[in-house]
């Protein structure tokens, strides 16, 4: 059964003659345990697709269902709850808060009202499992890019989401660190999550179950 289900997505930026339709009827189904890689050129709308799937942005038309929740009709409060319980984001530039240690960044999502009660314990486990215990107390600027991205993945997983959305997760890493990150994402899917990976690197698609290409606002199999 599809954990992610998107139909007829339309997203337009700008108005009038400057309007640009980056999603134009895109459709997507991702099942639990499945990794779907989305390829596309820069500016093709890959990040926008992830944003609308995760409820960070609204579509102009179409429908999205994440873990049974209708994203397109959800209020801001419901979207917050959705992101807290069902969605984990991994970004290209890690987005770790510089004021918090690696561990505190991981636990940040677990500190929210309505977060899973077991989040703190799970955060600790993730830090151990991802080999970050020795650097858990370090601030982000004291960490390598690979370490920062592993903390970001741990943060995305701390509430045990059913969907993992990764936006160019290896784009800012060297080959070795990038491979490690992809392995972790695969492991996340193997635990029963739906993973959508957006990338412009063909090499990063090797671990994916399916590879789609976003072109002219639509998703097509490669």
């Amino acid at each position: 059964m599809a954990v992610v289900r998107a139909r007829g997505l339309v997203k337009t930026f700008g108005e009038g003659r400057a309007a640009r339709r980056v999603l134009d009827g895109a459709e997507l189904d991702v099942a639990a345990g499945e990794v779907v890689a989305v390829l596309g050129r820069s500016g093709s709308g890959k990040s926008t697709l992830l944003h609308v799937l995760g409820g960070l942005d609204r579509v102009g038309a179409g429908s999205i269902e994440i873990a049974g929740v209708d994203v397109t009709r959800a209020s801001e409060r419901e979207l917050s709850a959705l992101r807290r319980r069902h969605v984990g984001f991994v970004f290209q530039f890690f987005h770790l808060l510089p004021e918090l240690s690696g561990e505190a960044n991981v636990l940040l999502a677990g500190r929210m009202r309505g977060a899973a009660p077991e989040a703190p314990a799970r955060g600790g486990e993730l830090i151990d499992r991802l080999g970050l215990r020795d650097v858990a107390a370090s601030l982000p600027h004291q960490l390598s890019g690979g370490e920062q991205q592993r903390f970001a993945i741990a943060r995305a997983l701390v509430n045990d989401p059913s969907v993992l959305l990764a936006d160019e997760p290896t784009g800012n890493l060297d080959a070795e660190a990038g491979a490690e990150v992809l392995r972790l994402l695969r492991a996340g899917a193997d635990e029963g999550r739906a993973v959508v990976l957006v990338t412009h690197e063909a090499g990063a698609t090797a671990m994916a179950d399916r590879v789609l290409r976003l072109a002219d606002g639509r998703l097509e199999p490669c």
Binding site: S80, R85, M112
Partner: protein, 751 residues
């Protein structure tokens, strides 16, 4: 450059609006301060000129006008003189109102010494006309054409004009209401031609030599009983003292508002410059000079500041124009009218200059750096150090403190505002206590009784009475300087049992020839322990005392002296004492009052300030609380400004929080932490500032002759802390609402 500046402002629309609102708020306070301050500072001179106020007003027991005129004409330096016959405590009736304290002045030929502000003056040859003072007209809603009754003998008169004279405050601030009538009215209603006078108005050729004229006047005053002089300079000094504290406070508020706005704008401009460093770098690389970049910034600042300051000044001026005119009317003074435009124009220039300087300086400093260095430093990165603790609140606090310069500026601004608010509350409370609590001015008695001396024993025996004693009080004039008014208070024994103003210098009175003088009087007459105080009593007799101590007395502006009664009674045997009653601590004052009434000695509650000033003090207290509220709004602005800048700089972090599932409450918690990090230290610093700096400074400014208790009371501290808590919550709500309206992805893109 202008078009570039306009384009820049449009591009930063919301920021521009926020800056404009801040400038508007600060200008509003400045406009208020300028309008009220200028009106009060210049009101007396302006009104005295318009009214043709005499340089000296002499009051004496009734005497034939020809006799008085003969002596007055002999005075040196005299330019003109006119005479009145003033009858006090006349019943007045009009428009359903009634008052027994009318001061009816029969005016003769010559200068009047008052200004007709509505209608016309009484005509010398027409009977049945009256001119009433503006305070009475306003209070009783009287207009030319209305009727006013002046007792049974004179009967009803037609009001033909409304007059104002700044030699005294207006009714009802003054207990007497002045009415002017012509001699023709006396002739018609009373059947005789008045030829007596008890008031002489003197205009001098050289007012600066009034003392010479007064010395001569006393020398030739033989036969004139209870001669008293009021000089125009004396009235001006008295009114200036009263207005001085208000003006000082208004100037202080205006400065606080300007400093607050300047600091916040400078901090905002600094943050803006940081944000635009890369743009500056590119401009420098393209050949822009630092001066041109700074000039562009100045043009942008001026474009925002000029209309905002103009609007703020206009709103501030319009908002207080009515109350200010009312305050001036209560002092029998005129509002400045068009004369106000010049100080307002200066204020506009000052506000715009401060804003432009605050906005341009950071740009100038940044643009002077080498272009490559500017380009390298183009990204704003938050400082990192120790890890933030305390959950989302702690994270927010860390966001605030990361930009240290702005954090310090914000804390300083809010601390100053909080300090001013505590000061306002302390002042307002003090004014109320001055009105109600005699202890504030050093009085240790709570009740006064008008009763013969033989009842003293019975009064002392009343349950709840701690002590009772005789108290003599009389007005006098210093006979060395001539005309300096002072109050003499005498107790047969140790006066500190009933009045104990703090001793500033010397020692207490021990014998009949000694005096403790208030610091105000000591300053005015140059008295020190060992000096001689020579006072002319109302009877005309002179009494002398050796000054043994200087005390900090608030009553009568410190122009007061405590003595033993022997010499006073020698100079004025008719002087009657009152009885003062000190109630036992914890005793029910109402019960004591009832018991005293039962034995035939009905008491009155002792007041701190004179009852004449009571209402005025109440108005001032309300004004001060209002100003405190206005300064509180500046606090709110500063908090919102600081929080908005923090939220803007850390919009990526806030967006990430939301991406991780943070809802409105989580965002608000972070922002509350950021606001509290500024407000909490600011509140403590503000209270400390008031305690250590503002309170002592204002106490000295307001009444150097007294000890004003202006330290922050626990209640005031609680109000300020509670107020700041509310402001923090308000600022958090405003900024959180704004932040939550922004799409999450917009913040993530910036990060």
């Amino acid at each position: 450059m202008l078009s570039l500046a306009i384009a820049g402002l449009r591009a930063r629309g919301s920021r521009t609006v926020l800056s404009a609102l801040g400038i508007l708020a600060a200008s509003l306070v400045v406009g208020t301060g300028v309008t009220v301050g200028y009106g009060l500072a210049t009101g007396f001179e302006r009104s005295a000129e318009r009214a043709g106020l005499p340089d000296v007003i002499a009051r004496f027991t009734p005497e034939r006008r020809a006799t008085v005129d003969e002596r007055v004409r002999a005075l040196p330096n005299l330019a003109a003189a006119s005479y009145r016959y003033e009858v006090l405590d006349e019943p007045l009736t009009a428009n359903g109102h009634h008052n027994h304290r009318g001061a009816v002045n029969t005016v003769g030929a010559g200068r009047r010494g008052y200004e007709i502000v509505e209608g016309r003056d009484v005509a010398g040859d027409r009977a049945g006309e009256a001119v009433v003072e503006r305070g009475l007209a306003k209070e009783w809603d009287l207009h030319p054409g209305d009727a006013i009754g002046l007792g049974r003998r004179i009967g009803e008169l037609r009001i033909v004009g409304i007059a104002s004279s700044p030699d005294n405050v207006a009714f009802p601030l003054a207990t007497t209401a002045r009415v002017y009538i012509s001699e023709a009215t006396i002739r018609e209603r009373l059947g005789f031609t008045p030829d007596d006078a008890n008031v002489a108005l003197l205009w001098l050729c050289d007012p600066s030599k009034a003392d010479v004229t007064l010395t001569q006047a006393r020398a030739v005053s033989f036969g004139l009983g209870r001669l008293e002089f009021v000089t125009r300079e004396g009235v001006r000094v008295l009114l200036s003292q009263a207005a001085g504290i208000v003006i000082s406070l208004l100037v202080a508020f205006s400065l606080v508002a300007l400093v607050a706005a300047g600091t916040m704008l400078a901090a905002g401009a600094h943050a803006d410059v940081q944000r635009r460093l890369s743009a500056f770098g590119v401009q420098r690389a393209l050949g822009f000079t630092p001066a041109r970049i700074a000039a562009l910034q100045a043009a942008e600042a001026a474009l925002v500041a000029a209309p905002a300051a103009l609007a703020g000044l206009a709103i501030g001026t319009l908002a207080v124009a009515g109350p200010s005119a009312g305050l001036l009317a209560a002092l029998n003074e005129q509002p400045p009218g068009r004369d106000l435009l010049a100080p307002l124009a200066l204020a506009l220039i000052a506000v715009v200059a401060i804003v432009v300087a605050a906005a341009t300086w950071p740009a100038w400093r940044a643009a002077r750096r080498p272009p490559a260095e500017i380009l390298r430093g183009g990204d704003v990165t938050p400082r990192t150090g120790r890890e933030a603790r305390g959950g989302l609140l702690g994270l927010g606090a860390r966001f605030s403190t990361a930009a240290r310069g702005r954090f310090v500026a914000s804390v300083a601004t809010i601390a100053v505002c909080a300090g001013v608010v505590v000061l306002m509350l302390a002042l307002a409370s003090l004014l109320e206590r001055l009105r109600e609590d005699p202890g504030t001015v050093g009085k240790r008695y709570q009740l006064t009784v008008s009763a013969p001396e033989w009842m003293l024993g019975a009064i002392r025996d009343v349950a709840g009475v701690d002590a009772a004693g005789q108290r003599y009080a009389t007005e006098a004039a210093d006979s060395f300087r001539l005309g300096e008014p002072l109050r003499l208070v005498a107790y047969p024994g140790d006066h500190t049992e009933f009045e104990a103003p703090p001793l500033a210098e010397g020692r207490r009175v021990r014998g009949p020839g000694e005096a403790e003088v208030g610091l105000g009087l000591a300053d005015a007459l140059g008295l020190r322990p060992g000096s001689t105080l020579a006072a002319q009593l109302r009877s005309g007799a002179e009494v002398r005392f050796r000054v043994t101590g200087i005390v900090r007395a608030l009553e009568h502006d410190g122009r007061i002296a405590w003595v033993r009664p022997e010499r006073l009674l020698g100079g004025d045997p008719g002087l009657q004492p009152g009885i003062v009653v000190r109630v036992e601590p914890g005793a029910d004052r109402g019960q004591v009052s009832r018991a005293l009434t039962e034995i035939g000695a009905p008491p009155r509650t002792a007041s701190a300030a004179t009852t004449r000033n009571g209402d005025f003090l109440a108005v001032l207290a309300a004004v001060l609380r209002g100003v405190g509220l206005a300064v509180g709004l500046v606090c709110l602005y500063a908090l919102i400004q600081a929080l908005t800048m923090t939220a803007r700089e850390r919009r990526g972090a806030v967006a990430l929080l939301r991406a991780c599932g943070g809802d409105a409450r989580a965002v608000a918690t972070v922002l509350a932490g950021a606001a509290a990090a500024v407000a909490a230290p600011a509140a403590l610093a503000g209270i400390a500032l008031e305690w250590a700096v503002f309170g002592p400074l204002v106490a000295r400014l307001a009444a150097g002759f007294a000890s004003l208790p202006l330290a922050p009371a626990p209640g005031h501290v609680a109000i300020v802390l509670g107020g700041l808590l509310v402001l923090t919550a308000g600022a958090t709500a405003v900024v959180a609402r704004r932040v939550l309206r922004e799409p999450v992805v917009a913040g993530l893109r910036e990060e």
